[in-house]
């Protein structure tokens, strides 16, 4: 069944390039055509028309009258230019040499079928199934050319060595792009029946961010990335194809080198109805974002990333992959021979951006009066008098200062941030294996003057060939993260941003700083709103230190039983320990009650968390061709996952010795320990069929067993099937079509991710302090430790997804379109639904509800200009996703549950028949004729019922990248957008009630007369003082005035790069040198919400989406990257 020169082929091609003919031959036979680009003019246009003609004859015809000769060796067609006889004579004198070696991929796996050709000759061979080859060179100083589909061709000089081992790197530019799919199996994208996105390492390590995921904003179709505005160590919220589950957690799974790692977010989720399993940091006065699982990854270690968007791609990863998978492959081996060194320096300056557009006509004060005596209390109100030249105000203990606007509070309070990353990589490559060792240090100075994030990463990847058929690979990553003073965000009290953004507009900040303490060293009370702690007091007194050590990695052994059959065993672990200490309420903070006599007030918490996840898996994989047309792949594997986490925490209140923040020094001590343990066992299998390299079919099945569910509901089996058809193979007469494929897929996934361990029963908490009975004897006090009703009968939630796709490459890949449409249903959801608190509980876990995500995502790549010197690329990605709630407990339209409550005012609902994530709250009251109704004193009345303002989730997410390359210079910029969502803006809520919002200017003199009618239906003529009028947003929870469209268009990234390698190549020291300048978040092209950057703050939980609360200002960063290779 082997191919031979007698193989007959049928070819009908008109005026095509020689290259196209080669491709056809390769696709119709199992031959590979090998040639040197410099020798063969593959662009030469030819026309061929053969029916069942012998291959040898076809080739003879093709190269008639050229200097090219061909030779058929096994399954290879090797083309060479016949040399003039004189040269042949010269070379005949040269000595022959026997060379042998092994060819592997970057993981050290042997590569069979790689062609090895001596450059400039027809002398060649191919590797056997163990990757071994041997070849006798014909010339001295020979150069061997190694090539294989999906890998970059590599040339190696023979020199003196008799053994040459080569590692081939996957070729990302190749038409037949190879991606790492589930279970680490490499597949050519042409074969896949579902959508994947490949992200090049440069996408995350050029325009840098301290959390590398943030740099992907607007870059990948169907992937919505949000930076949360919580400081440099903060979380990144990633949603693939929308929010699938109604409840809070829809994080994708992170898989590093084939093994899942933890992505627990310590983000703030105030107001979420719970159940999301995200620990957050929300006790003892601290509401800061302590980062997530992405923040410990060093972008310089990343070799490639694949995002599996749909359930089909992810089906083999099972339950946790219901929201997609981000697969990261890190470097394990050098690319050249010997030792290579790679150094990267990145520096970025962050400038805080101020989007406030406040009124500066009326200054500090209330009810139209400015402060005129010592110890005024209006500090947070700007409902004072109209600024007039020469006016003064009296602040603090009697300081008289001009009564004039104080502009630029953001710039004055915040500093410029600075991120510096130093990375050095050392890699080696030898006969039997190789390694990559990297060391990286990130120091990120946040814009909040005491906020800093430091990270050290050490990564080691190594592979080794233990015997002919046995290979070993390991990756170990260590990170140490120190997050100092991540700012408090997401609530009204005890945060710098809220206090600063609402500071009266005539409050001099230098005075605020100078007067932060009273004579006792406590906070000087500057406002009757004592909860708005002086931001300078907070800076000076409050601390929050987080340190995390994390080590994750895996080791695998792979054994090739047969050329087409291997087995693999792998063990992976992710372990971290995280120490945190904070004094949420420092001693002397004015919002706190005094301590009993003999103590000082304040709180302090110390906690240690440990987390361990282990994964053990095995895989048996077979891949065999049957005949010319048919190939079959079978994979069978199993996985055992165990995840354990515990927390030791001690909270103390009040201290014996002032300024000694330790648990020993606390008056009331409240220690707590908790533990969670879960396990999932899985078995899975996959079947891949391909026919004529044109039709592909693949099917998978997986069975999971979850420890968190009762024994009756524990196991679940779910399948997936996908198919693709490369129709361009059948359309040879359409020359403009380089490649065309249709794909279709269906998958199901079951999941327990929204079930916390021990959700089946109610547990209790005994108060750390005893309470004295009437006889003075201390007695225990206890209560259930949760506000969520347990549910012992939970079943796994289910996801089913159907997707269709089209992949078109046209005009020699100058116009490419990758289009997917999908429908994803998530049902039997496990939702913490808010219930009546008269039941005693706030929420209950229900196992019901369905929602449907439907969307289209498109990636359009255009190459308008492409020649040797210049290349211009336009990449446009856009996705449209709409998620509708189909049912909750029932499918009655209008049935609703509340999943989140705003820290200010407003709710997030899920409503049957509506889009997911409905923002709601009280609106204005209107009569039947649509006229607004005012109270008898002229204040706006609120609606009787809750009003829905629309979905918080954007429907359109995408970006446009333009990139240019001229010789060694390249430039690109990215514009991104998110459109079609709504937000309830907490910043504008406060700006309104405090008199900073421009809409509060109306009626400062003489009062506001609302346009509408009074309760009797007569036109409203009553004027209400502006402060009273706008107070309704707080006292009546009338939030309609502060609901906005959250959409934006942003000029997100710009970068300019220059490859200086040519300039330094003469020196023996450098092998490569590139420099790039970059800028992030340059400006907002269009937005609809005043006073803030629409993506300045977000909660990591989807239960509180769109409930904006003042976050740390966003920044514009400008930086420099320098990369040297030695």
């Amino acid at each position: 069944n082997t191919s031979s020169a007698d193989t007959e082929i049928t070819l009908q091609l008109k005026n095509v390039s020689l290259e196209k003919v080669f491709q056809e031959i390769e696709s119709l036979t199992s031959f590979k055509v090998l040639y040197n680009d410099n020798q063969v003019n593959y662009n030469r246009k030819v026309s061929v028309s053969y029916v069942k003609a012998p291959l040898k004859g076809v080739l003879t015809d093709l190269f008639q009258d050229t200097s090219i000769t061909f030779e058929i060796l096994d399954t290879q067609i090797i083309l060479t230019r016949s040399l003039p006889s004189s040269i042949i004579k010269d070379t005949e004198a040269k000595v022959q040499q026997d060379i042998s070696g092994v060819v592997t991929d970057t993981n050290g796996m042997p590569l069979p079928g790689v062609s090895v050709v001596e450059k400039g000759t027809s002398n060649g061979t191919a590797t056997d199934f163990d990757g071994n080859y041997s070849l006798a060179t014909q010339n001295a100083n020979a150069v061997l050319v190694f090539s294989s589909i999906g890998f970059a061709t590599k040339e190696v000089s023979v020199n003196q060595s008799a053994t040459i081992n080569v590692q081939l790197v996957e070729d990302s530019e190749a038409l037949d792009e190879v991606v790492v799919t589930a279970l680490g199996i490499k597949q050519e994208t042409r074969k896949l029946g579902y959508s994947v996105a490949k992200v090049d390492a440069e996408e995350v390590n050029v325009n840098r961010s301290s959390n590398f995921m943030n740099t992907l904003q607007g870059k990948v179709a169907g992937v919505n990335v949000s930076a949360l505005g919580t400081g440099p160590g903060g979380s990144s919220k990633v949603r693939i194809r929308g929010q699938s589950s109604i409840s809070g957690t829809n994080n994708p799974l992170i898989v590093v080198n084939g093994v899942p790692i933890d992505n627990t977010s310590f983000g703030t989720n105030i107001g979420s109805s719970g159940g999301s399993g995200e620990p957050g940091t929300s006790s003892g006065g601290v509401y800061s974002d302590g980062g997530d699982g992405f923040s410990s990854i060093n972008p310089d270690d990343i070799e490639s990333m694949t995002i599996l968007k749909g359930a089909t791609g992810a089906a083999l990863y099972g339950s946790r992959a219901k929201d997609g998978v981000i697969m990261i492959t890190t470097k394990t081996r050098g690319t050249g021979q010997g030792i290579g060194v790679n150094y990267t320096l990145s520096i970025a300056n962050q400038t805080p951006l101020d989007f406030t557009d406040y009124q500066y006509e009326y200054g500090q004060g209330e009810n139209g009066v400015r402060p005129t005596s010592a110890n005024p209390t209006s500090g947070q109100w700007s409902f004072g008098e109209r600024f007039q030249p020469g006016m003064t105000q009296i602040l603090f203990d009697g300081v008289e200062v001009p009564y004039e606007p104080v502009y630029d509070r953001i710039k004055e309070f915040y500093r410029n941030g600075l991120d510096i990353t130093n990375s050095i990589g050392l890699s080696g490559n030898s006969e039997k294996g190789g390694f990559n060792l990297s060391l990286s240090n990130l120091e990120s100075k946040g814009i909040t003057p005491n906020n800093e994030f430091k990270r050290i990463n050490v990564g080691l990847g190594a592979s080794y060939l233990l015997s002919k058929n046995l290979s070993f690979t390991t990756n170990i990553n260590y990170s140490n993260e120190e997050n100092t003073n991540p700012p408090n965000v997401g609530q009204q009290d005890n945060t710098i941003p809220v206090a600063l953004f609402n500071m009266a507009n005539s409050m001099p900040l230098d005075l605020l700083d100078q007067k932060k303490f009273d004579e006792n060293g406590n906070e000087f009370v500057y406002s009757r709103f004592r909860n708005r702690t002086n931001p300078y007091f907070t800076l000076s007194e409050q601390f929050n230190n987080i340190e995390r050590d994390r080590i994750f990695g895996n080791a695998s052994l792979k054994y090739n039983f047969l050329p087409w059959l291997f087995g693999q065993v792998r063990v992976g672990q992710d372990y971290w320990s995280r120490d945190q200490e904070y004094n949420g309420y420092p001693t002397g903070q004015a919002s706190r009650p005094p301590a009993p006599e003999g103590f000082v007030n304040g709180t302090y918490t110390q906690e240690v968390r440990r987390f361990r996840e282990t994964n053990v898996d095995f895989l048996l994989s077979a891949d065999k061709d049957f005949g010319d047309d048919f190939s079959l792949g079978v994979n069978f594997g199993g996985n055992k996952m165990r995840r354990q986490a515990d927390v030791y925490q001690t909270n103390v209140t009040d201290f014996i010795i002032r300024d000694l923040y330790t648990v020993q020094n606390g008056r009331i001590k409240n220690p707590n320990y908790s533990f969670a343990d879960r396990s999932t066992n899985s078995l899975y299998g996959a079947l891949n069929l391909s026919f004529k390299d044109t039709y592909f079919l693949s099917a998978t099945a997986r069975n999971d067993w979850f420890s968190t569910l009762s024994s009756e509901n524990r196991g679940i089996l779910y399948p997936s099937v996908s198919a693709s058809y490369v129709f361009s193979n059948a359309l040879d007469n359409m020359e403009w079509l380089t490649f065309g494929k249709l794909r279709a897929a269906y998958a199901e996934v079951g999941s327990d991710t929204d079930v916390l361990p021990y959700s089946d029963a109610l547990f209790y908490n005994i108060n750390a302090n005893l309470f004295a009975n009437s006889n003075g004897q201390f007695q225990p006090v206890g209560a259930p430790n949760t506000n969520t009703l347990p549910n012992p009968n939970l079943r796994p939630m289910r996801v089913s997804e159907t997707e269709f796709g089209l992949d078109l490459r046209m005009f020699n890949s100058r116009v490419n379109l990758d289009l997917s449409v999908y429908r994803k249903s998530t049902f039997d959801q496990i939702i913490p639904a808010q219930i009546s608190n008269a039941s005693g509980f706030l929420s209950t876990l229900i196992n019901s509800g369905e929602n449907r995500n439907q969307g289209v995502e498109a990636l359009l790549t255009l190459v308008p200009i492409q020649n040797e010197d210049i290349r211009y690329d336009i990449t446009l990605n856009a996705s449209y996703n709409k998620t509708k709630v189909v049912s909750l407990l029932t499918d009655t339209p209008g049935e609703s549950i509340v999943v989140g409550t705003h820290a200010f005012n407003g709710f997030l609902y899920q409503v049957v028949g509506e889009e997911i994530g409905q923002l709601a709250g009280f609106g204005y009251k209107f009569d039947e004729q649509g006229r607004q109704i005012f109270a008898d004193d002229g204040r706006p009345l609120r609606s009787d019922d809750i009003v829905f303002f629309g979905s918080a989730l954007p429907k359109w997410v995408g970006g446009i990248t333009n990139s240019f390359r001229y010789k060694n210079f390249n430039a690109s910029f990215l514009i991104d957008f998110k459109l079609g969502g709504k937000m309830i803006s907490g910043t504008n809520f406060n700006a309104t009630r405090h008199g900073l919002h421009k809409m509060t200017l109306e009626g400062r003199e003489g009062g506001v007369i609302g346009d509408g009618v009074n309760q009797a239906g007569q036109p409203n003529t009553v004027a209400t003082p502006a402060q009273t009028y706008w107070e309704v947003v707080r006292s009546q929870q009338l939030i309609e005035p502060i609901v906005y469209d959250s959409g934006y268009w942003k000029f997100r990234q710009l970068n300019l790069g220059y490859d200086l390698t040519d300039l330094v190549q003469d020196s023996t020291f450098f092998q490569g040198l590139t420099v790039s300048l970059f800028a992030n978040n340059l400006f907002i092209i269009k937005k609809w919400v005043p006073n803030i950057d629409p993506d300045s703050f977000g909660y990591s939980s989807d239960n509180v989406s769109g409930l904006e609360s003042t976050g740390v200002p966003t920044t514009r960063s400008i930086g420099l990257n320098l990369n040297c290779k030695f």
Binding site: E366, N367, V369, S373, A374, V525, R528, F529, R530, P593, P594, P596, F675, D677, R678, S679, W705, F706, S707, T708, R714, P757, Y758, A761, L762, F763, Y764, N765, N769, F771, A772, N773, S774, Q779, P780, V781, G782, A783, P784, L789, I835, S836, N837, A838, S839, G840, F841, T844, V898, F907, A935, D937, G938, I946, Q1027, T1028, E1031, R1034, S1035, Q1037
Partner: protein, 490 residues
């Protein structure tokens, strides 16, 4: 997956098997201490304490509906008391023969007290289906009419009190009376008395019967029998915490109350009040600046906001509104101050009223004098330094003798004083009796069309989650606003 059951076993947190339900009862008892809605609403309606400030402090000071606060009693009681009592009752009644009858009855009484306060504040409330999240998986409880609730509460309290038995296993671990069954019975009957009196206008027959039953069964006999939460530094008094932290400088005693006490030379004024003479700001309100003398006290008049109160203060010759009299937050309203829920004094005053109405035997004047005396004696429990001497009490009673002709008003006024810092009961009794005879709050921008606030509005969370049941209650009772009268206040 053989070890999955083991993996999914929580070995750290106790279960209902291992937690003695008495711990939950203790939690419920401690949490019957009033929430801060009493400072922003109840005590403001009865003109004892107000804040001139707006924002989150908006309430009875402006007669406005501030739903961030009106839900406070609801949230604290359902989530901290009813949750626990419902759990205990579910556990105990699940057993066929409860072997802890006293624990069961105690729990019923604490729950009944809580429901009474809730229905008095809001009208119709979730009652028969409330607190049954765990036991019956009821997540959206229906609202019962107040009439039905009162009828059931009267039976419930009678049954529970009768069921308490000194011969049954004792429950010494509870924190209210340390398991003293006699005291529990006196509390149960005093609660029954209160229930009966609350319906005096709407159903006098049932009221009289209930009051007389309670009287016969035996009521609180001294301050030793009071239902009090003895707050300490770990379990602090809500009012004390608020009045000593964020709102330390924002709440003042109302002139109505100060003037009444001062016009009768009531020694309680000196005990309760503190004025920072000459203070022009919050920071100037220091312990050292505080003056307690009765003649120095100046109450804040009703009806002003932070824009207009300054003018009033200067008209009165005060340095600023910080110069008005506050409740003494260092002694009487400190964080560790006891919170009195039902007292001997209140019980005696109710008996004085019942006797005046002829519902019970006994001498109204005796009850009256004992009620006043008992409250004055209670001052010592706040701090030795504010204790009232017996001779001062005698003097007061001599100077302000019981006046049979004006008995109901006089009793009502004393009940008002006796309920200082017991907002829910002061508010209920004011609505029921109309005493004290207050002028309505003249604040210009009001949400109410009636003279006074008649009830508190339901929580937004109920509108959001339990709207159907809430709607049924509203259609029965009247609109969900501050105007609607509760059933017993028609």
């Amino acid at each position: 997956d053989k070890n999955f059951d083991e993996i999914n076993t929580n070995n750290v947190d106790p279960t209902s098997e291992s937690v003695d339900p008495i711990f939950l009862l203790n939690n419920a008892i401690i949490n019957t201490s009033f929430s801060n809605a009493q400072l922003i609403y109840d005590l403001g309606v009865v003109q004892q304490i107000i804040s001139p400030n707006s924002g989150v402090l908006t309430g009875a000071n402006y007669n406005q509906d501030n739903r961030d606060v009106t839900d406070d009693h609801w949230v604290k009681y359902y989530e901290n008391v009813i949750k626990n009592t419902g759990d205990i009752l579910g556990q105990l009644q699940a057993e066929d023969a409860p072997d802890r009858p006293n624990l069961l009855q105690m729990t019923r009484l604490v729950q009944a007290l809580t429901f009474m306060i809730l229905t008095d504040e809001y009208g119709d409330i979730p009652y028969s289906e409330a607190g049954k999240g765990v036991s019956d998986q009821i997540v959206l409880p229906a609202y019962d009419s107040q009439e039905a609730i009162y009828a059931d509460l009267i039976n419930e309290v009678k049954e529970a009190t009768a069921g308490l038995s000194a011969s049954a296993p004792s429950e010494n671990g509870e924190v209210l009376y340390s398991g003293d069954i006699a005291k529990w019975k006196k509390f149960g009957n005093s609660l029954l008395l209160r229930l009966g009196m609350h319906i005096s206008e709407v159903n006098p027959t049932l009221a009289e019967q209930t009051v007389s039953d309670a009287f016969e069964a035996g009521l609180m006999e001294s301050n030793e029998d009071n239902y009090v939460i003895r707050h300490d530094n770990n379990f602090t008094n809500n009012a004390g915490s608020l009045l000593n932290s964020t709102e330390a400088n924002n709440f003042y005693m109302v002139s109505t109350f100060v003037d009444f006490l001062s016009s009768t030379n009531d020694p309680r004024l000196q005990s309760l009040a503190l004025r920072f003479v000459g203070a022009t700001s919050g920071p100037e309100q220091t312990v050292e600046a505080g003056v307690k003398d009765a003649e120095e006290q100046v109450g804040m008049p009703m009806g002003y906001d932070n824009g207009t109160i300054g003018g009033v203060a200067s008209d009165l010759g005060l340095a600023s509104f910080y110069d008005f009299t506050q409740v003494d937050r260092f002694l009487v309203a400190k964080q560790t101050a006891p919170m009195y829920i039902i007292t001997y004094s209140q019980t005696q005053l109710l008996l004085a009223e019942a006797a005046t109405r002829g519902w019970i035997g006994g001498d109204a004047e005796t009850f009256y004098n004992e009620g006043v005396r008992a409250h004055m004696q209670l001052m010592a429990s706040y701090d030795e330094s504010v204790a009232i001497m017996e001779e001062e009490i005698d003097t007061y009673l001599t100077e302000n003798p019981f006046d049979t002709a004006n008995a109901l008003e006089q009793i009502g006024n004393q009940y008002w004083i006796s309920c200082f810092l017991n907002g829910p009961e002061a508010f209920a009794n004011f609505r029921r009796t109309g005493f004290p005879d207050l002028d309505s709050n003249p604040y210009p921008a009001q949400d109410i069309s009636t003279e006074f606030i008649n009830r508190l509005t339901y929580p937004n969370s109920e509108v959001a989650t339990n709207n159907e049941n809430l709607g049924a209650a509203v259609s029965r009772m009247g609109a969900d606003n501050l105007d609607t009268n509760v059933w017993w206040d028609q």
